[in-house]
């Protein structure tokens, strides 16, 4: 009833004015800005792809060939990357390290975030803040003391050097993300479960975690991406070529002196970004809902 009244009242005002839903207005306010945004964001990917597919003589000759297009596509660079280097091995190592570090970090973060958000203990706020401060220490400073520890523990040049150091920045990050998510789950649900006879761990497992799945997934995506792209620790703690991660290996093995093998380098970067892109595209719905929404009954 009230809707109908409002519509009738609103109609005369609209005539003669460009409606919000008109095509020109939508193009100007939505599609044009969006298009600019998409072009800026996706151009690097495009550049990466065409560089991968260009033969060398085309790559360095801007006068005869338009640099924005490929004239005679070739898979020489891809073949070189996959068969003349240890790229598949690097990819596998990176994947294993990222997954292991992510699982470890999510596990620790769930426990930390739950305790800080839900258990009433003196100073829980301060613990939360302290964890956040740990996140603010830049890795470029942290890697020096960490290097000492890695050496002392005999982990140098082993994947565990990375699996155990990545959580230093992943755990604070995931903990804060999960604190926010746990906060959005009504506390009454846990009180109700408590009366129903559940223990703290049962509540966490059967009530809180199933409701926090979107939050867990977005924390997982963040952690996975951060470990996948991590550079400085991977550069410092790994020496053997076959144990390197993709970001480091591509740079150290495909740049020899001042000889940049651009085609292979870009192929390496392209293939390195595909798993992350796939990962995101599968979980994009959860990811968006965890950043925007809370649990609704």
């Amino acid at each position: 009833m009230t809707d109908a009244v409002q519509q009738v009242a609103a109609k005369p005002a609209r005539t003669g004015v460009i409606s919000w839903h008109s095509t020109p207005r939508r193009v100007a306010t939505i599609y044009l800005p969006l298009a600019c945004f998409v072009v800026v964001l996706l151009f690097p990917f495009y550049w990466m792809t065409i560089t991968t597919l260009k033969p060398n003589h085309e790559l360095y000759n801007y006068k005869d060939y338009n640099p924005f297009f490929v004239h005679s596509p070739t898979l020489v660079n891809v073949k070189k990357l996959l068969f003349d280097t240890e790229y598949p091995q690097w990819l596998f190592t990176t994947m294993s390290i990222a997954i292991a570090a992510t699982v470890l970090s999510i596990f620790a973060s769930v426990l930390a975030a739950y305790a800080i958000q839900r258990l009433r203990f003196r100073g829980s706020q301060w613990v939360g803040l302290a964890i956040y401060l740990a996140y603010l220490v830049p890795p470029s400073i942290l890697f020096i003391p960490l290097a000492t520890m890695v050496f002392k523990l005999g982990l140098y040049d082993s994947p565990f050097a990375l699996i155990l150091t990545y959580p230093t920045f992943l755990i604070p990050f995931c903990t804060w993300l999960l604190i926010g998510y746990f906060k959005s789950i009504p506390y009454e649900l846990e009180e109700c479960a408590m009366i129903d006879g559940a223990t703290r761990l049962q509540i966490l497992r059967k009530i809180t975690l199933p409701l926090a799945v979107p939050g867990l997934i977005s924390a997982g995506i963040f952690a996975f991406t951060l470990s996948w792209n991590e550079f400085i620790y991977a550069l410092a703690f790994i020496q053997s070529s076959e144990k390197k991660t993709v970001p480091v290996a591509v740079l150290t093995q495909l740049v020899q002196g001042d000889d940049y093998q651009w085609g292979a380098l870009m192929a390496g970067a392209l293939f390195g970004s595909i798993p992350v892109a796939l990962f995101y595209s599968f979980f994009v719905d959860y990811y968006v809902s965890s950043l925007t929404g809370a649990v609704k009954e």
Partner: protein, 352 residues
Amino acid sequence: MASVDIIDAAKSFGAVRVIKGVNIPIGDGEFVILVGPSGCGKSTLLRMIAGLEEISEGQIRIGSRVVNDVPPKERDIAMVFQNYALYPHMTVADNMAFSLKLKQAPKSEITAKVDRAAQILGLGPLLQRYPRQLSGGQRQRVAMGRAIVRDPQVFLFDEPLSNLDAKLRVQMRTEIKELHQRLKTTTIYVTHDQIEAMTMADRIVVMHDGIVEQMGVPLDLYDRPANLFVAGFIGSPAMNMIKGSIRNSSFETEKGNHLPLGNAPAASEGRRAIYGVRPEHIHLAGDGIPAEVVVVEPTGAETQVIVKAGGDELTCVFRERITAKPGETIRIAPELKVVHLFDADDGRRLSA
């Protein structure tokens, strides 16, 4: 089933004392309603009984057991929350079975109990739905079903009807009352709505500012409120209260008018007091006090009229249809047997 005894219980949050030592004995199978304005501590008290808040001082007993240090899950109670607190990721059946599954009850027993609860509450066709697919009233029933399957010693309700619309609230009120008559489980129910309290309770506990103002059967509270707070809180529309003093067996208002008294309390000549009369206890009378009509609000069955008599504004509720217009004068008289007198200083009831 069990009795619940609250003995000198107090609760402090830091330096703030929200429950200031209350004593409430609750009999086995009784339906007791804690009622009071928001912030009076009634929900906190309920949460103390449930074990969700620690008891700062005093004792709470369920049956013969002191439960001060017993965790909620071992108190054998069930609680219905204001927002129902249904687990959103479980179906109605799973919601109701959750506590039994935690107890690792046999599957056949779980199914039997869930089916019985569903049948009592008419939830049969909804068992496989999720809470988000239910209406407010259905969610309310599921929350109650979850309590029923536990077969607990005590039911606790924390303002369970306040999220429902007015019509549904009246219907659920009846259902909860019927449920109690059927199951006879000791029930403690918190509400801020005095109508809910009056209609459902065996006994009402009126709380205000962390203390118990009065405890008693509903009509007792209505007929003989112990103090001004209870007098003003119970009954709708609220009781008319006029300041003045007792003179020559009648009541002289501050503005110098005289109101009749049935039997003035002994040795009270000249005492400052408050004259209380409920709107429904004022009648039209040919020889009554002249009063100017301010507002007439017909509700169908009865008519609520606000009048001005001798400078004091009074609310009256008449069973008769009133044709008087604002500005006209009608004659009214209070029913003397049910006039209440309260001490002007401490608000306590004076008349016997």
